[in-house]
């Protein structure tokens, strides 16, 4: 959990806006550090977290969260965290064994055209399950859904429209009905361009999700090029929805530069971004 980011977003684990859909996106950069941030943030806020970890293994997230001061294994044991390990589940779909049936969440791997209805049903059952079945279980706060990440679904053959439907249903259940929060990561490849002929693509997904969300955090490299000390910038946009404030406006409160430290986690070969905020330059909000 990065306190500087918290102060920029004006949130703390004790008080945060509910019913928010936060979209984290990146372009030719790696925004997964923000997912780790939000994971540790919401666990600290004693929320019930449903995490769809589709790109990395549980031990990876566990190791990074350890560095941020949160134990995922403990949270899972206590029932605070429900973790869908996409990589492991997909093996049971692709190599079916008689013993384990597994959940139907990853069934879209068999037939991507079917859509993500099963995945949504998994999410719904996870966030709705009450902790009061056994004696002594703790009461958790509002439900939170974290997805890392949505773009991998596109490369698995799911259409952008199906992913948008999935995020719509998740928003209707998690944010609107249960007043919880949602954080989803989308990764874009290449430059932003007019995607006129391409109906299926990460650009269309990003645009559609931007319309649905209430807050976007866009990570990209520095526009001036490579710099040794500063690895990128984060653009924060609020799409204000409350009628009490100015409506329809996007407040661009941007250009916070974070440095990323390379962190090699034992057992996993890809490096993990671990930002330590060294420099912070930001302009005053527009309103």
């Amino acid at each position: 959990m990065y306190t500087e980011l918290n102060s920029i977003l004006s949130t703390t684990p004790d008080s945060f806006t509910r019913g928010e859909f936060i979209l984290v996106s990146d372009r030719r950069s790696d925004a997964s550090f923000l997912i780790h941030h939000f994971l540790s943030f919401y666990l600290r806020a004693r929320c019930k977290v449903c995490f769809l970890g589709l790109v990395q293994s549980f031990s990876h997230y566990s190791a990074v969260s350890q560095r941020l001061g949160v134990s995922l294994a403990q949270a899972k044991e206590k029932g605070q965290l429900i973790f869908l390990e996409g990589l492991k589940e997909s093996l049971s779909v692709l190599i079916p064994q008689e013993a384990n049936r597994g959940s139907h969440a990853m069934d879209f791997l068999r037939d991507p055209t079917v859509g993500l209805r099963r995945l949504y049903e998994f999410v719904r059952s996870s966030v709705r399950s009450s902790g009061g079945e056994e004696e002594g279980t703790e009461e958790w706060g509002p439900p939170v859904l974290l997805v890392d990440d949505l773009s991998v679904l596109l490369s698995l053959g799911v259409s952008a429209g199906a992913v948008l439907d999935f995020s719509h249903y998740c928003r209707a259940t998690v944010c609107s009905q249960l007043q919880g929060n949602m954080v989803m990561l989308v990764r874009c490849v290449g430059e932003e361009e007019e995607d006129d002929g391409d109906d299926e693509g990460s650009e269309r997904l990003l645009k559609g999700l931007s319309h649905q969300c209430s807050l976007t955090l866009h990570v990209q490299g520095l526009p001036t090029g490579y710099c040794r000390d500063i690895h990128g910038q984060v653009e924060v946009c609020w799409r204000r929805r409350q009628a009490a404030r100015v409506v329809g406006e996007i407040d661009k409160f941007t250009s916070h530069s974070f440095t990323f430290d390379w962190l090699l986690v034992a057992g996993v070969n890809d490096p993990v971004w671990n930002p330590d905020c060294v420099e912070e330059e930001h302009s005053a909000p527009a309103s």
Partner: protein
């Protein structure tokens, strides 16, 4: 033109509010709903994209009898057991049935939030057909739709907007809470009016038009009306006095084909050779008719 549109859309009118990811047109849509409710019209909303609470937020008072929200937000595709309104219900019969109300004599205004959602699941031609049938059918008085222009191909956006009688395209303005609206209005006589205005929406959903934007989007510096005089501040004199100016204008330039030269060439003076010409049949050679026997 925006205030006139807010005051009332003509019967059988179809208004489209086009927005993009950088500025949401939903609040302008809410202003239109507010305006319709204050005119004692009944409004039916097909809500696909936002929940009822979010849409009702900020609407005036509690006109529950005249404001009907058809919930297509929680389950538009029928994934649960009891969907309220699904996207497959977007056809003439179901919509007419939905909007029909025996208590209210006047036909209602139908608001669609949003058309983009429907276009993602129903083919554009079917959507256009339904919209046309609704317009002509008389079941609804007017239709207002929200369309996210950056989510569809240009052709799709163009086809749907072609059906509309008015299109408002909103974009973020230069200042914080302002926005720019490009309005195209087609009247029944066929006349098309276009306008561009800068507006802002207050908390109570009233729209304030700031100014008519003449040059929108470009941060132009103040136009320099006075041109600097290049002949000023020089160490030598570049100006002409009146006599000098006259003499300059009188001067005949050497290689210009003036009137005097022309008459001199055409009417040769005495002493030069005269050419006498008598028309000769051999000179009258027509390339396309060498034997001179075509009856053209």
């Amino acid at each position: 033109m925006l205030p006139e549109l807010l005051q009332g859309i003509d019967a059988a009118g179809f208004l489209i509010i086009q927005d993009s990811a950088s500025y949401s047109g939903r609040h302008l849509l809410k202003s239109f709903i507010n305006a319709a409710l204050s005119r004692e019209e009944s409004v039916h909303v097909l809500g696909f994209e936002v929940s009822e609470e979010e849409l009702r937020d900020g609407l005036k008072g509690s006109p529950t009898q005249r404001f009907h929200f058809h919930n297509a937000f929680t389950d538009p595709l029928g994934w649960t057991d009891h969907p309220a309104f699904t996207v497959s219900g977007f056809n003439l019969e179901e919509l007419t049935h939905l909007v029909k109300q025996p208590s209210h004599p006047k036909p209602a205004t139908l608001v669609i939030d949003s058309l983009s959602w429907i276009l993602r699941h129903v083919s554009p031609s079917a959507v256009c057909k339904t919209l046309q049938q609704l317009k002509k059918g008389g079941a609804v008085r007017a239709i207002i739709g929200l369309l996210h222009a950056d989510m569809h191909q240009r052709g799709t956006v163009g086809s749907v907007c072609h059906m509309a009688t008015s299109v408002i395209t909103v974009a973020p303005g230069l200042k914080g809470d302002e926005a720019v609206a490009k309005i195209t209005k087609r009247s029944k006589s066929g006349k098309v009016m276009q306008d561009e205005e800068v507006f802002s929406i207050k908390e109570d959903l009233t729209v304030i038009v700031q100014s008519k934007a003449s040059n929108v989007g470009s941060k132009q510096p103040d136009p320099e009306e006075q041109e600097t005089d290049p002949t000023a501040n020089l160490t030598f004199n570049l100006r002409l006095s009146d006599t000098e100016r006259e003499a300059k204008e009188k001067l005949a330039l050497p290689f210009v084909f003036s009137k005097e030269k022309k008459t001199a060439l055409l009417h040769s003076g005495p002493g030069s050779g005269r050419i006498l010409y008598e028309p000769d049949a051999n000179d009258d050679y027509d390339q396309e008719d060498p034997d001179d026997d075509l009856d053209v």
